[in-house]
Symmetry: C2
Subunit: 229 residues, 2 copies
C-alpha cells in the first residue's frame, strides 16, 4: 500500500497553533488510507482511535434498526471524523472515493488535549461549529421543502469545497444520489427529480460527477419571477 507524500493536512492548522503542539500531534499521527466504500469505523465501536481527514470525502451516518439511514454529515479534508473524546462512536463513517486519514491513538491524544489549553480551545471551537451546523441541518429538515433542501445542500457544499480547491466552474459531487437523499431526509428519486427541475429552470447544470451552479453568488437559486416555462 503506497503512501502519499503529505498526510498532515490543514487539520489543526486552520487557526494558528504553536509549533510544539504541532510537533506533538505529528508524532502521534499515523497515516492511513481507505478505498472508496470502505468503512472507517462503526457506530457503537469503542473509540480506540481518533481520526482526522487529510484527503477525500467521508460520509458520517447512523443506521436505524429497520435499515433506514441518516447521513449526519459529509467530512472534508481538515475535519475531524468525530469528537476525540467520548468512549464510543455515535455514528459510522465510510469513505466516499479513496481517502487519506490521520489516525491518533485516543488515550494519548486525549492526554495531549487535556494538558494543552490551546488545543482544547480549538476543540471546543470545533465542537461549537459542529453543533451549529447540526442545528442548521435540523432547521432545514424540519422546515424545508425538497427543493429548499437540495438547494441548501448544493450551496453549502459548494462553499465548503471552494474553501479547499481553488474556484472551478463545476462543483464536484463525489457521493451518490442515495447519500444526498439520506442526508436531506428525502428519497433518491426525489433528489433526482429536484435536480432535474432545477436544471430545467437553468439554476444548475448537471455534469458527469457534479453540478454547475448558475448563480452561485446569491444564496438562493430559488424561483425568480419569469423563470423558464
Amino acid at each position: 500500500m503506497p503512501r502519499t507524500s503529505s498526510f498532515f493536512p490543514t487539520l489543526f492548522c486552520r487557526e494558528p497553533c504553536d509549533a510544539r503542539d504541532l510537533a506533538e500531534l505529528t508524532r502521534l499521527a499515523t497515516p492511513v488510507r481507505f478505498e472508496g466504500g470502505q468503512t472507517i469505523f462503526r457506530e457503537g465501536d469503542v473509540a480506540r482511535s481518533a481520526f482526522g481527514l487529510s484527503q477525500g470525502v467521508v460520509r458520517l451516518y447512523r443506521l436505524l434498526p429497520d435499515g433506514r439511514r441518516q447521513v449526519v454529515a459529509f467530512a472534508l479534508p481538515g475535519d475531524f471524523l468525530a469528537m476525540p473524546l467520548g468512549d464510543r462512536f455515535s455514528f459510522s463513517a465510510d469513505a466516499v472515493g479513496d481517502v487519506s486519514i490521520c489516525r491518533f491513538p485516543r488515550e494519548e491524544l486525549k492526554r495531549l488535549i487535556q494538558t494543552n489549553p490551546g488545543i482544547m480551545r480549538q476543540l471546543i471551537e470545533f465542537a461549537a461549529n459542529e453543533l451549529q451546523s447540526a442545528q442548521d441541518q435540523l432547521t432545514l429538515l424540519g422546515n424545508g421543502s425538497a427543493e429548499e433542501r437540495v438547494v441548501s445542500f448544493l450551496v453549502n457544499w459548494r462553499r465548503r469545497v471552494a474553501r479547499q480547491t481553488p474556484p472551478s466552474q463545476a462543483v464536484p459531487l463525489p457521493m451518490r444520489r442515495q447519500d444526498i437523499a439520506d442526508f436531506l431526509g428525502l428519497k433518491l428519486e426525489t433528489v433526482s427529480r429536484t435536480f432535474a427541475k432545477l436544471e430545467q429552470r437553468n439554476a444548475i447544470r448537471i455534469v458527469p460527477h457534479g453540478v454547475v451552479l448558475m448563480r452561485p453568488e446569491q444564496s438562493a437559486l430559488v424561483a425568480e419571477g419569469g423563470g423558464a416555462s
Copy 2:
C-alpha cells in the same frame, strides 16, 4: 420581584467540580427571573452574557425569514442556554412558564473557563452531549413518521424530566402544541391528531398539562399486535 432562595442549581454540578471552581462561579453568577413568554435573548444578539437555567423550561429556536420556526431544543434546569463561547447567539430563547436563570458576564466566564481545565473539560462534555442530541433529532426529523416523532419526543422528555423531579405518574408538558410541532417539524394539528391516536390506542392518556405514558419502560409505545380498532 421576589427571589427564590436557591438560584444556584445542579448547574455545573452534574459532575463533581471542586469547591474553588464552584465558589468562583457563584461569585460571577447573577440570579434573574423571567415570566412565561418573555424573551431571554435573540438570535444574532451579541452574547454579552451566558445563561444557566435554574428553574423552569426554556425553548430555544430559530426563526426563518418567512416566519417559520424551528425549536432547536427545550432546556431544563441544569442546562446552559447556549455555548458560553462564541460572539453571538445562534438562536433565540424564551421562557415557557416562569423561569429562574443564572446570568454570567461572558468575558469573565470565558476567562475562568480558559484558565481552568476542569471547567473546560465539562464544557467540552456539554458540547459533545448537545451535539449528540442534535444528531438524534436530525435522525428523527430525517426519517421518522409523525407518530415516531411524537413518541420519541414523549419518551425522551419523560426521561429528562424524571431526572429532576422524582417519579410522578403524569409527565408535564408545559409547552404549547405549537412548540412541540415546531420542535418535531410537524404542524400543530398533526401533533394533536397523533396524540389523539396514541390515546385511542391506550398508549398514553392526555391530562390537563401533560400526558401519562402507559408503557413508559419500553422505549416504544408503538403499535402492538391487536391494538384497538
